[in-house]
């Protein structure tokens, strides 16, 4: 198991290097211009100077190597320095990956946005699991009952109706008509007392529910089919014949075994939590990591797009590895050595 983990980790390094090259090259070759959003009244001569000041005059391979160095060496060193409060070498002169639109280090921008992304998208993921697992279990146990039919219907709707639609419908109902909930997420709100907690809770309800229902629809289908697979197994009959009560059979034996594939699906879905939910963030103006990415794409802020995309790639590779290892731990029949 350990050797397997080490081997997988070592294999991830060339994978990530290839990914980093592809991301950098694709974005670099794509036609775009960081000065395109400047007012048209600014003449081209000035635009050229701005582009040179952004470092666009250098050849491709130099910029790629510099970006790699900044991302893989300088940024981790900075993180270490900030975390332990020490200084390694000449940290003043160390170049960092800088966004073209804000001129600030991209890693700082991401760090500033992680709280709202994690709180909204993360909570919605938990809500999704809390909704999906019971629905999946009951639907499978009472297959073809009314509950199952209704559950299937709702999850099909949740699965097929896009979040930009459900989000807008919710805003129209709860903000415009009823006036109960704010339609715009206030990222400056700090939870200090009961009132600010209520305000935070209120502004989280809609985005969390929109995303939660969308994810729950998917997860509940997985849960249901996994439960159905297990319910017909021999060991279930054995457990029942031993005189175990239904709750024990279902919740201890069947549920635990059925969770194995579902846990993998959940683990693989976790990187999307960090990626945020681009559309939902846009609708409610949560302005998290997803909005950072989409804004950077629109503004041709290439360093931000490259860095955010690469971080997503790293997360996906890492969580794939975690999912594989979890699988081995949950299911003793699977061993990689």
């Amino acid at each position: 198991m350990f050797r397997y983990a080490i081997r997988r980790l070592l294999f991830a390094i060339p994978t990530l290097l290839v990914i980093s090259f592809i991301i950098f090259a694709l974005l670099d070759l794509a036609p775009s211009d960081p000065t395109a959003q400047l007012p048209l009244t600014i003449p081209e001569e000035v635009r050229e100077m701005i582009k040179l000041s952004l470092g666009l005059g250098e050849p491709f391979h130099i910029r790629y190597l510099r970006w790699l160095e900044q991302f893989l060496v300088n940024e981790p060193l900075n993180l270490i320095e900030q975390f332990w409060g020490i200084e390694i070498g000449n940290s003043e002169d160390r170049l960092r990956v800088r966004s073209w639109s804000t001129r600030a280090p991209v890693v700082d921008l991401i760090a500033a946005r992680l709280p709202q992304t994690l709180s909204v998208v993360g909570v919605s993921y938990i809500v999704a699991i809390l909704i999906a697992v019971p629905i999946g279990v009951i639907s499978a146990y009472k297959q073809y009952s009314i509950f199952d039919q209704v559950g299937t219907f709702i999850s099909m709707i949740g699965f097929s109706v896009p979040t930009f639609f459900t989000g807008t419908v919710m805003i129209v109902i709860f903000s415009v008509v009823l006036g109960w909930l704010p339609s715009i997420y206030d990222t400056t709100l700090e939870v200090r007392d009961y009132d600010s907690f209520v305000a935070q809770f209120k502004q989280m309800i809609m985005p969390v529910m929109v995303l939660g229902l969308f994810n729950a629809a998917q997860l509940s289908r997985f849960m249901r089919s996994s439960m159905l697979d297990n319910l017909n197994q021999e060991y279930v009959r054995t457990a029942r014949s031993k005189g175990m009560g239904e709750p024990v059979v279902i919740l201890i034996h069947v549920l635990r075994n059925s969770m194995i594939p579902v846990v993998t699906v959940i683990a693989l879905g976790l990187p999307t939590t960090f990626a945020g939910a681009i559309i939902t963030e846009q609708i409610f103006r949560i302005n998290g990591v997803g909005q950072l990415l989409i804004g950077a794409i629109e503004g041709a802020d290439i360093p931000t797009v490259q860095t955010v995309t690469f971080i997503f790639a790293v997360l996906i590779v890492v969580f794939n590895l975690i999912a594989d290892l979890l699988y081995g731990m949950l299911d003793p029949r699977i061993r990689y050595d």
Binding site: T35, L38, V46, R47, L52, R103, L109, A112, T188
Partner: protein, 570 residues
Amino acid sequence: MLKARTLLLATAAAAMFATAAHAERGSDGQLKILYWQAPSILNPFLSGGTKDIHASSLIIEPLAHYDTDGNMVPALAEEVPTVANGGVSADLKSITWKLLKGVKWSDGSAFTAHDVEFTAAYCLDPAGGCNAAERFQDVTSVKAVDDHTVRIDFKVPKPFPYGPFVGSEAPIIQKAQFENCMGAKAPTCTDQNFGTIGTGPFKVVEFKPNDVVLYEANENYRIADKPAFASVLLKGGGDAVSAARAVLETGEFDYAWNLQVEPEILTTMEKKGKGEVISAFGTSVERLMVQLTNPDPALGDKRATYQDGKNPHPYLSDPAVRRALSMAIDREILVEAGYGQAGKVTCNVLPAPAIYASTANDWCKTQDIAGANKLLDDAGWKRGSDGVREKDGVRLSILYQTSTNSVRQGTQAFIKQMWQEIGVETELKNISASVFFGGDQSSPDTFQKHFSDIEMYTNNFNGTDPENYMLRWTCDKMPSPDTQWIGQNMPRYCDPEYDKLAAQLAETAAIEERAIIAKKMNDMLIDYGAIIPLIHRGGVAARANTLGGGAYPNVWDATPWNIQDWHRKK
């Protein structure tokens, strides 16, 4: 009787005190503004767009602002210098600004002429990538004569010497704060660029780039009872429709900026009664740029280049075709369908200020299909079997490109239909705005390359003086491979007569004479058919009914230019 009068006086005095109390600084709570494009940086010189210039205009101020009518009003200066008051030298080569005394930065230190001098040096540093560099064109020196006097010298006579330090694009930054951020170091000064210190009515408390800015009233602001709002929340992100909704339907925000939304959506939202839609017209004109040179890909390097007039467009070089295309367009329909309150029909590429607006081209205001058809018939363009006109084997088949935007695609579809009626075939193309307006050399789809027959976009000029704008269509401003496709003369228009007028404009100081020349230049462009103007576009915004004090889109300056006067209506 006496008693009654005393009582009356007392009541009047009490009432006065009451209003005075109401007009106290910070008495009106929080102002909430929504920009669907979020501010990225609070240093306008390094900004990537209008939103940043607006967001920083609450903090830092220029020497003079433009009001909503385009008149200059002093901000950090005592008065606007002119030749008449002796502030501008008789040879038009220098301007001297007298600064207000006793102005303090929000950190409490004194604002002096040295800050102004420093701002010029900061922006003129070639390594800094300052986007207001054009404002400092021809400036030879900016000197602090004493603590409250600044003298700017120009290389050439400047009939309009108000480029530097007028308007929110070229405000004054604090020397003490930015001293170590000159040139190549400018972008690395994140703390300074995010926490700009200013003399304006508000100061930054919290800035989350591309998300939100939280300001509070600047306690050192020079007018004691202003601003009325204690804090301002400027939120960004999302899209224009939901921004309009937040002001007009849910009432969560007080002001929403730049709402380019289909007019019927805004009208429906306005009926809710929480706010109103307001619009203002500047110099923006949605226009068709005609390609006068041949954009045939087979020409290789010579594609869409002038070649001393030896590379004419196969059919757009015929004046009858250009005129017919313009006559066939019903501009009223385009306004009604795509712009509503945000558009007016125009026949000029220079539509404002009023003294520069020509009336010589008003024939374009009414559609004339019959006239256009006759013109083409007379010029020898005969309809083929498919209804498309042709002459000597050249078909009137137009490639018409613009940026991707639902209103523009609507306009394209209407115009295609109108041109069909005069026997012109049109192929429509739309290109992502960041490519179309981006000057990427490797892309064939930029608006400078104009590898099409007709292209459509909006452009305008800042401030009220059209000189630089009208200079865009002189022969030497044609984009070509030799100039790295730099230049704004998209039609590749070249007329020595026009160039002569341009030179004359640069030497004329009297505003009436300038207006005559500028109008003549406008008429030449329209009459020739190099540019086909369509719509005079305004800025549209939504304002809550409770917001008073002149909150209005300012097309000549940043919208929050007068935010110190904004207040909550009681």
